[in-house]
C-alpha cells in the first residue's frame, strides 16, 4: 500500500476538479460526498500507510517514490516525487485527519451558502497542496506546495468576495506570504548553488561535509528558509495577515489558520533540522522570535473582543511556542506541540463557528454570555479545548507545551523559558476569558437573536466531539519519561531527528519543579480570568479606564498595521506613481516627443530662408559661387 502513496494527494485533486468544474450541476449533497469522501479516503490510506511504516524497523522507515520528471535543465534535475518517513507520516495524519473532520463540519456550516461547491473544491485543492508540501522529497516541490497553499488561503479567505474587507484580507495574505516565499525561493536557490541538487536525501547527506558548521553559507541558507517560514507561519514581522484572515469562513480559519497551513513553517524547520543544527546563530534567532511572538500576540489576545481574532492571536502565539521549541533544538517537541495544537485549536475555531452559527453570525464576545445551557455540546467540547490549550495536566496541551518549556529550561536559556511561562499564564487567562464571556455570566445577546439560539446540527457537533477526544488523549502519545511515559512520540520521530540524547544535566527533580511552576502559572491565569469576568464583571472596565493608554495600544494591535501601511505600503505606491508620472511620462516620453519637437523646430528655421524675394535667392546663388571659388582658392 505504501507504494501508491501518490493516491493520497491525487484524491483531493480529483475532488477539486470534479467539484470545481461540475460543482453547480451536482447538487449539494453529492458535492459534499465527493469533497469529504476524497479527503476521508486519503485519510484512510494515510492511516494504513502510517501503520505499515510503524511495522518497519526504525532505520528503514524512509520511502521515496518518484512519480514523473518535472524540470530537467542541464544538471538541474527535479522530479515530482514523494518521501514518506515518520515526520511526514505524522503530518499526513494531522492534515488528512483534521482536514476530514473540518470537511464534515463545513458541510453543515456552509449548507445555505450558494458558493457551496466552489467552497468544497477550494478546500480539496488546499488539502492537495498541503499534502504536496508535506510529501515533497525535494525543495522545489516543497516550494510548489508552499505557494499553492498560499493561493488556496487567498481563494478561501476571499471566499465571500463581495465583502471588500474579505478580498482585501485575501490580497494581504497572499502578498505577505509572497514576501516570505521570496526569501524561501532564494534559500532554495542557495541550496541548489551549494549542493548542485535539491533532493532532501542528497542535501542532508552532503550537508555536514560541505557546509562548515556555523559558517556564513549555512546561516544564510537557514535564515532565508526561516524567512519563508516566518511568512507562512505568521511570526513577528510578517504575522499581520493572519488576524485579517479571519474574514474567511470559520472552517477555513480552522483548517488553514490553525491546523495545517500555518504549521508548514514548523514542518519545514523540522524537515531541515540537519541544516539548522549546523547554524546555531539561526537557531538562537528562531527561538528568540518564537518567544517574542508568543508573548507579544498573547498580550494582544487578552483584550480582543472578536472571538475569532482572539483565537487568531492565540494561534500565532502557540506557533511562537513551536518555533521556540525548534529554536532550542527540540524539534520533536515542536512537532508534538504542532499536532496537539492542531487538535485543540481546530476544535476552538469550530466551536466558535458553531457559537456563531447559533447566534446567527454574532462575533463580538461582549454581545454573548450565558450560552452554557443553550448549546451544551459546543460548551463542553470548547471547555475541553480551553483546558488543553491552557496547559492543565491530563490534557494534551500540558504535555506538549511543558515539553517545550522543559527543553528550553534544560538547554539553559532561562530568559526564553521565563517568557514562555509568562506567556502560558496569559494563554490560560485569555482562553478562560473567552470561555467565561461566551458561555458564563448573564446573557448580553440582543433580543432578536436570543429567541432562536439553537444547538448546531449533528453533522457539526460530531466532529467537535471527536476533536475534543483527540485534544484530551492526544497528549498521552508523548508523556515525558519523568512522568513515567515512554515519550514514544519523540522516540518515534527519532529515526528522523536522530537519537541524540538531550544532555540532561538536571535531575528529574528540577523537571518536576518546572512542571509545577507552569501549572501554577496556568492556574493563576484562570483565577484572574475568573475574578475579572465572573465575580466582578465591572473590574475589566475600570482597569481599562485606569490604564487607558496601554489598553488602547493593545486593542489596536500596537498600531502595527497602520505602521506597516505608513512605512512600506504608502511610500511604495507613491514611489510607483512617481516612477510612472515622472520618469515614464515626463522623462522618457518627454525625450521622445522632445526629439520630434526639435526636428520640427529646426524645420521651422529652415523654412524662414525661403523669403519669397527673388533677389535673396540671387544673393544665395552668388554667395554659393563665391564659396566654391574660395574653396578652390584655399585648397
Amino acid at each position: 500500500m505504501i507504494d501508491n502513496i501518490w493516491l493520497v494527494p491525487l484524491l483531493p485533486l480529483l475532488g477539486f476538479l470534479i467539484n470545481g468544474i461540475f460543482g453547480r450541476k451536482l447538487g449539494k449533497n453529492l458535492v459534499s460526498w465527493i469533497g469529504c469522501g476524497s479527503v476521508g479516503l486519503s485519510f484512510l490510506i494515510s492511516v494504513k500507510v502510517f501503520f505499515e511504516l510503524l511495522s518497519l524497523p526504525a532505520e528503514q522507515r524512509i520511502f521515496e517514490k518518484i512519480v514523473f520528471p518535472w524540470i530537467y535543465s542541464g544538471f538541474f534535475k527535479v522530479n515530482i516525487s514523494f518521501l514518506l518517513d515518520p515526520l511526514s507520516g505524522v503530518m499526513l495524519l494531522v492534515v488528512t485527519g483534521v482536514g476530514f473532520l473540518i470537511h464534515v463540519y463545513s458541510v453543515g456550516y456552509m449548507y445555505e451558502d450558494n458558493g457551496f461547491s466552489r467552497f468544497f473544491s477550494f478546500l480539496n485543492l488546499f488539502i492537495f497542496s498541503m499534502l504536496m508540501l508535506v510529501l515533497a522529497n525535494n525543495f522545489l516541490l516543497l516550494y510548489l506546495g508552499w505557494e499553492a497553499v498560499g493561493l488556496c488561503s487567498y481563494l478561501l479567505i476571499g471566499f465571500w468576495y463581495e465583502k471588500k474587507s474579505a478580498s482585501d484580507a485575501a490580497k494581504k495574505a497572499f502578498i505577505v506570504n509572497r514576501i516570505g516565499d521570496f526569501g524561501f525561493a532564494l534559500g532554495v536557490m542557495l541550496i541548489f548553488w551549494t549542493f548542485g541538487g535539491l533532493n532532501y536525501t542528497e542535501v542532508f547527506q552532503q550537508a555536514p561535509s560541505i557546509l562548515v558548521a556555523g559558517g556564513g553559507l549555512v546561516t544564510a541558507i537557514t535564515l532565508l528558509l526561516f524567512m519563508g517560514a516566518v511568512g507562512k507561519s505568521a511570526q513577528i514581522p510578517l504575522y499581520v495577515w493572519l488576524p485579517d484572515a479571519m474574514e474567511g469562513p470559520t472552517p477555513v480559519s480552522a483548517l488553514i489558520h490553525a491546523a495545517t497551513m500555518v504549521t508548514a513553517g514548523v514542518y519545514m524547520m523540522a524537515r531541515c533540522h540537519i541544516l539548522y543544527e549546523l547554524a546555531p546563530f539561526t537557531l538562537g534567532l528562531v527561538a528568540v522570535i518564537g518567544a517574542v511572538t508568543a508573548i507579544y500576540t498573547a498580550s494582544i489576545a487578552m483584550v480582543q473582543n472578536d472571538i475569532k481574532r482572539v483565537l487568531a492571536y492565540s494561534t500565532i502565539s502557540q506557533l511562537g511556542y513551536m518555533f521556540l521549541g525548534c529554536g532550542v533544538g527540540a524539534f520533536a517537541a515542536g512537532i508534538f506541540h504542532l499536532m496537539t495544537h492542531a487538535f485543540f485549536k481546530a476544535l476552538l475555531f469550530l466551536g466558535a463557528g458553531s457559537v456563531m452559527h447559533a447566534l446567527s453570525g454574532e462575533l463580538n464576545m461582549q454581545k454573548m454570555g450565558g450560552l452554557k445551557g443553550k448549546i451544551p455540546v459546543t460548551f463542553w467540547t470548547v471547555f475541553a479545548a480551553v483546558l488543553a490549550i491552557s496547559g492543565i495536566p491530563l490534557f494534551s496541551g500540558f504535555f506538549s507545551k511543558d515539553e517545550i518549556l522543559w527543553k528550553a529550561f534544560s538547554q539553559g536559556n532561562l530568559l526564553l523559558w521565563l517568557i514562555g511561562v509568562i506567556c502560558a499564564g496569559m494563554t490560560a487567562f485569555y482562553m478562560f476569558r473567552l470561555l467565561f464571556l461566551t458561555f458564563f455570566g448573564k446573557s448580553r445577546v440582543d433580543e432578536s437573536i436570543k429567541s432562536h439560539i439553537h444547538e448546531s446540527p449533528k453533522i457539526m457537533t460530531v466532529p467537535l466531539m471527536i476533536l475534543a477526544i483527540l485534544s484530551v488523549l492526544g497528549g498521552y502519545v508523548g508523556i515525558p519519561k519523568s512522568l513515567g511515559g515512554g515519550n514514544n512520540f519523540e522516540h518515534f520521530l527519532s529515526s528522523v531527528f536522530g537519537e541524540k540524547e538531550m544532555i540532561i544535566h538536571h535531575s528529574a527533580f528540577t523537571e518536576y519543579i518546572v512542571m509545577i511552576i507552569s501549572i501554577g502559572v496556568a492556574l493563576a491565569g484562570i483565577f484572574f480570568a475568573y475574578r475579572f469576568y465572573i465575580s466582578k464583571p465591572e473590574l475589566p472596565k475600570s482597569l481599562a479606564e485606569k490604564y487607558n493608554f496601554p489598553y488602547r495600544v493593545l486593542l489596536n494591535k500596537y498600531y502595527v498595521d497602520e505602521f506597516y501601511f505608513k512605512i512600506i505600503v504608502n511610500p511604495l505606491l507613491k514611489f510607483a506613481t512617481f516612477l510612472w508620472q515622472f520618469i515614464d511620462i515626463r522623462i522618457i516620453d518627454g525625450t521622445a516627443n522632445g526629439l520630434a519637437g526639435m526636428v520640427n523646430w529646426f524645420g521651422g528655421i529652415g523654412r524662414k530662408i525661403q523669403t519669397g524675394y527673388v533677389r535673396n535667392y540671387a544673393l544665395g546663388m552668388v554667395l554659393g559661387v563665391i564659396l566654391v571659388l574660395a574653396y578652390f582658392i584655399l585648397k
Binding site: W70, Y161, M189, W580
Partner: protein, 521 residues
C-alpha cells in the same frame, strides 16, 4: 517535403492573403472563416514541424539554402533549431487564436484586416526561421508594416500617435542593425574573399574585440528597443492601449520575443566576448526593467497598459535569464518567452472580450463582476495567476529557471529579480480585486453576459497549455536542451579563440575598414 516546410509555413499566409483579396469585401463571414482556415492550416503544419523535430541534433533542421540574389551573395536560407522551433509554434498558435478572437471585434474593413493579419503572421514566422542576415532584416522590417496598419486603422482614439511612435522606435534601432550587418558583410568578404550574408558563414568570422563591441551595440540597440528594455519601453503601453485586441495579442505574444530571440540568435554567437563584457550592464538594465515595470503597472488606471507594463517586467526576466549565460538561465529565458506569449496573449484576449461588452478599459468602471460573469472570472483568475508565476502554472517554471540561472551567475541579480515576483503579485491581485471582487456598484456591470462558446473555445487551449507546461515542461525543455548546450559550447570556444588570437584578427579589421572605404569612393 521536410526541406520546403519552412517556406510553406512562411508563404501560406501570404497566399491566403492574396486569396482573400479575391473575395469581395461585403460578406465578412466568408472572409473571417477563410482567414481562420488558413491560419489553422498553418498551425497544423507547424505541429508537423514539432512532431518530426529530432530533439537530439543541436544544429538547424528543415534547412533550405537557395541562392536568392547572386551577385550580392544573398541566400534564401531558412532553418529551425531548438530555440526558434517553439517560437514558430507560438506564432502560428497565437495568430490562429487572434484571428478567431477578432470575429466580432472588427466590424468595418474586415477584408483588409484579415489580409494584414495574415501578412503579419508571415512576417513573424519569417523572422524566426530566416538564417540569412539580409533575409532576416527584410522580414524584421517587413513585419512592421502590417503592424503599423493594424494599430493605425483599427486602433483606439490615439492610434496615429501610438503607431507612428511604435514604428519610429523600432526603425531607429534597426537602422543601426543594418549598418552592422553591412560591416559584417564586408568583413566577411575580406576574410573569405566572397560576398555572403549567410549567417552560418558569418559565424565563422573571427571579429576582433573592439569591432565586436560596436557591432554588438548596434544589434543590441535594435533588439533592446524591441524587447523592450528599460529606457526604450515607452512605445509599448501606447501601442498596446491603442491596438485592437488581436493586434495587441500578437504584439505582446510574438513581436516582443523577436528582441530576445535576436539577442540569443545573433548577438550571443556573433559577438561572444562583447556579450560577456556587457553582462553586468544588461543584467542591471534587465533588473531595473523588472522592478520598474512592476512598480509602474501597480499604478495604472487602464487594464491594458497595466498588462503592457507587466510584459516589460516579464521580459526583463527573460533578459536576466539570457544574460545569466548558463544552461538554466537561457533555457528558462526561452521557456519564459513562450510562457509570456501564452499568458499575456491570453490576458489581452480576456481584456478584449470584456472590452467588447463594456467598451471601457478603466479599472474603476468595473468591480464585483465575478458574481455576474463567473466563467469569465475563472479564466481571468487562472491566466492572472499564470502570469504571476504561481507554481503549477507555466510562468513558475520559466521564472524559477531564470532566477536559478541568474543566481548561479551573480547572486545580487537573482535577489533583485526575485523582488519582481512579489511586485508581480501586488499589481495583478490588486487589479483582480478591483475588477472581479468587491461589491457591484456600476449598473452596467449587472447586465454583462458571460463568455459565449467561441470565446471559451479560444481560451481552452491556452488554459491547457498553462497547466501542461506548468506540470510537465519536459517535452519543451528536452527539445531545447541540445540547441542551448551547443550554443553555450560554441560561445565558450569562440570567445576563447578570439581573446587568444586577437592579434591576427586586428589585421583583418584594418583591411575591412579601408576596403569598405574604397567601396564607397
Amino acid at each position: 517535403m521536410s526541406e520546403y516546410i519552412l517556406t510553406l509555413l512562411v508563404f501560406i499566409p501570404v497566399a491566403g492573403a492574396l486569396l482573400l483579396l479575391l473575395v469581395n469585401g461585403s460578406n465578412a463571414g466568408l472572409l473571417k472563416s477563410l482567414a481562420f482556415m488558413v491560419s489553422l492550416l498553418n498551425f497544423i503544419l507547424s505541429l508537423y514541424l514539432y512532431f518530426n523535430f529530432d530533439s537530439l541534433n543541436p544544429g538547424f533542421q528543415f534547412e533550405i539554402n537557395r541562392v536568392w540574389i547572386q551577385n550580392f551573395g544573398i541566400s534564401y536560407h531558412l532553418g529551425v533549431d531548438g530555440i526558434s522551433l517553439f517560437l514558430v509554434l507560438l506564432t502560428t498558435l497565437l495568430s490562429a487564436i487572434a484571428i478567431l478572437s477578432s470575429w466580432s471585434a472588427i466590424k468595418e474593413k474586415v477584408k483588409e484586416y484579415m489580409v494584414t493579419m495574415l501578412l503579419l503572421e508571415a512576417g513573424m514566422i519569417g523572422v524566426f526561421v530566416s538564417l540569412d542576415l539580409f533575409l532576416f532584416y527584410v522580414f524584421w522590417e517587413g513585419m512592421l508594416i502590417p503592424m503599423y496598419f493594424l494599430i493605425g486603422i483599427w486602433g483606439g482614439p490615439r492610434k496615429v500617435y501610438a503607431t507612428i511612435k511604435f514604428v519610429l522606435f523600432t526603425m531607429l534601432g534597426s537602422i543601426f542593425m543594418l549598418v552592422a550587418i553591412l560591416v559584417l558583410y564586408f568583413m566577411n568578404y575580406n576574410y573569405t574573399g566572397q560576398y555572403s550574408f549567410n549567417f552560418t558563414e558569418i559565424l565563422q568570422l573571427p571579429i576582433p574585440l573592439n569591432a565586436q563591441v560596436w557591432l554588438f551595440f548596434a544589434f543590441a540597440l535594435a533588439f533592446a528597443i524591441k524587447v523592450p528594455m528599460f529606457p526604450f519601453h515607452t512605445w509599448l503601453p501606447d501601442a498596446h492601449v491603442e491596438a485592437p485586441t488581436a493586434g495587441s495579442v500578437l504584439l505582446a505574444g510574438v513581436l516582443l520575443k523577436m528582441g530576445t530571440y535576436g539577442f540569443l540568435r545573433f548577438c550571443l554567437p556573433l559577438f561572444p566576448n562583447a556579450f560577456m563584457d556587457m553582462i553586468p550592464l544588461f543584467s542591471i538594465l534587465a533588473v531595473i526593467g523588472i522592478i520598474y515595470g512592476a512598480l509602474v503597472s501597480t499604478m495604472q488606471k487602464d487594464i491594458k497598459s497595466l498588462v503592457a507594463f507587466s510584459s516589460v517586467s516579464h521580459l526583463g526576466f527573460v533578459m536576466l535569464g539570457l544574460f545569466a549565460l548558463n544552461m538554466q538561465g537561457i533555457q528558462g529565458g526561452v521557456l519564459q518567452m513562450i510562457n509570456h506569449g501564452i499568458s499575456t496573449g491570453a490576458l489581452f484576449l480576456i481584456v478584449g472580450m470584456i472590452y467588447e461588452r463594456r467598451h471601457t478599459r478603466m479599472i474603476e468602471d468595473y468591480g464585483g463582476i465575478a458574481r455576474v460573469v463567473p466563467i469569465f472570472s475563472i479564466f481571468f483568475m487562472i491566466v492572472a495567476l499564470s502570469s504571476i508565476g504561481l507554481p503549477g502554472t507555466n510562468g513558475f517554471v520559466g521564472e524559477f529557471l531564470i532566477l536559478l540561472g541568474a543566481f548561479n551567475s551573480r547572486i545580487i541579480y537573482a535577489v533583485l529579480g526575485a523582488i519582481g515576483i512579489i511586485l508581480a503579485a501586488v499589481y495583478m491581485l490588486w487589479m483582480l480585486q478591483r475588477v472581479l471582487f468587491q461589491t457591484i456598484k456600476n449598473e452596467e456591470n449587472k447586465k454583462l453576459l458571460d463568455l459565449n462558446l467561441r470565446e471559451i473555445i479560444i481560451l481552452i487551449p491556452i488554459i491547457l497549455l498553462i497547466f501542461w507546461i506548468g506540470f510537465y515542461p519536459q517535452p519543451l525543455l528536452s527539445k531545447m536542451e541540445p540547441a542551448v548546450k551547443n550554443l553555450l559550447e560554441y560561445v565558450e570556444q569562440k570567445s576563447d579563440s578570439i581573446t587568444s588570437s586577437s592579434g591576427e584578427c586586428d589585421k583583418i579589421c584594418e583591411k575591412a575598414e579601408e576596403s569598405s572605404i574604397t567601396k564607397e569612393k
